[in-house]
């Protein structure tokens, strides 16, 4: 029994260390240099990816479906309305809204893993395009963090 308690304590200590490490890696504070670095990833999309057209652009349900997906998977970090939070930058910034749909799709597929944005290729391609449709529908507003996520 004593051995079990020791092993459990060591494991919990290691878990605690991982929490601390994880939180130490701050992704993108609002309006910071870090945001600029995340937005800069959009420019790294290869030309072939950038040139892709959104196959959902004429689908009348794409924005609504994309909103559902956004609330499920993205709102936790980017905020329910996409204004960004302490965890992740605004999606209503000029950098995002002026980006080619293919570049946003590329970011969704590949993530920005070293800056906290996970890979979302586990969502099937049509769902990622639905997300692009929703993100593009948000429009441009100044980069301000959501004070109170609704």
């Amino acid at each position: 029994m004593k051995e079990c308690i020791v092993a459990l304590s060591v494991t919990l200590a290691l878990l605690g260390a991982s929490f601390a490490f994880g939180q130490h890696e701050k992704p993108a504070a609002p309006n910071s240099k870090a945001n600029a670095l995340v937005y800069a990833e959009l420019a790294k999309a290869p030309d072939k990816a950038r040139a892709k057209r959104n196959p959902m652009e004429n689908d009348p349900d794409a924005v609504a479906a994309g909103q559902n997906l956004f609330e499920r998977h993205c709102a936790e970090c980017h905020g329910n309305a996409g204004y960004g939070t302490e965890k992740a930058p605004s999606l209503r910034a000029e950098d995002v809204q002026s980006a080619a749909p293919g570049a946003i799709f590329w970011i969704l597929t590949n993530g920005v893993v070293r800056r906290g944005m996970p890979v979302w290729s586990k969502l099937p391609e049509p769902q990622r395009w639905q997300l692009v449709s929703f993100i593009k529908s948000l429009g441009v507003v100044p980069k301000t963090p959501e004070k109170k996520p609704d």
Partner: protein, 296 residues
């Protein structure tokens, strides 16, 4: 046969954890129970999972093994996980069988056709462990015939390494796990494998939130077994299973999994029925941060 049903210790942990944190995420979980794909936990999120395996045992008592997983996304490239295992062997006893601490690391920045993940696990368990989370070496059905009272006295410290290779093509996920494990008490290296393929029933999302939409269901199949040890590598004298799998990702945040497994040779349990329930708690890391650092 009298079946004694007890609330497992791990189920209590699950309920306690879920009661403490009200912020739930709605993840898109894979249906695999044994195989790992290359998708890690989202950073700062904690996924609480409970799994059960009912197994038939020739020449002995059937069993119900169960485990709880606490899976935390430390970063977008590192997931860490704690397992607590237990089992009930019918007409014998219910016992705690050990714990596992695992880490999965994504070495590459971008998505590729084949995506590798490195997996390292430390296991401290006893000989009565029956969760069958993987098959290694020459694991066979008759290993489980040892009564709990004797098997629990055998303590095992083991390191396990996996190379996880996973691809997603046109909605299909294909995952291959190559397993190498080392019992730290001077035992030879043992090897195993797990393969999986799965696909959501629909690739487009519905415009309305719904529980029974086809995109909420992911179905597939996995196959796993042993590959012997360093002295006798191969598919012989070990067990192999094939298992259809299905996951139901509910909009409320719960994921339910079901998988009947069938033994492919006489060394395998004839039938295993596995099921699991999980829920993701978003912002767990931030909550811990506030708790220990006193700021938001």
């Amino acid at each position: 046969m009298t079946l004694r049903v007890r609330l497992p210790f791990s189920a209590s942990c699950l309920l306690a954890a879920l009661a403490c944190f009200p912020h739930f995420g709605r993840a898109q979980e894979s249906p695999y129970i044994v195989t790992y794909d290359h998708y890690l936990e989202e950073p700062g999120n904690l996924e609480v999972e409970y799994f059960s395996t009912f197994g038939t045992q020739r020449g002995g008592n059937n069993f119900h093994a169960f485990w709880t997983e606490l899976e935390y996304g430390a970063t977008a490239w590192w997931t860490t996980e704690l397992y607590l295992d237990g089992q009930t062997t019918f007409q014998e006893s219910t016992i705690f069988t050990g714990l596992r601490f695992e880490n999965r690391i994504r070495p590459l920045k971008h998505e590729h056709f084949v995506n590798p993940i490195l997996y390292v696990e430390y296991e401290r368990k006893n000989g009565a462990d029956k969760i069958l989370k993987e098959v290694e070496g020459h694991d066979v059905e008759s290993d489980f015939l040892v009564p709990n009272a004797a098997a629990r006295k055998d303590h095992i410290n083991e390191l396990e390494f996996k190379l996880i290779l996973s691809s997603t093509v046109k909605g299909w996920n294909f995952a291959e796990n190559i397993i190498a494990s080392k019992n730290l008490s001077n035992q030879p290296w043992e090897f195993g494998y797990a393969l999986g393929a799965s696909r959501p029933l629909a690739l487009k999302a519905s415009a309305k939130r719904c529980s029974f939409c086809r995109e909420n269901f992911v179905a597939g199949v996995e196959m796993y077994g042993g590959l012997g040890d360093r002295y006798s590598f191969g598919l012989n004298n070990t067990s192999h299973y094939v298992a259809p799998v299905v996951a139901w990702n509910l909009p409320s945040g719960w994921t339910l999994r079901l998988s009947p497994s069938f033994g492919l040779n006489d060394n395998s349990h004839a039938f295993l029925l596995r099921w699991g329930v999980s829920r993701e708690i978003t912002g767990f890391g931030s909550a811990m941060n506030r708790l220990f650092r006193g700021r938001s």
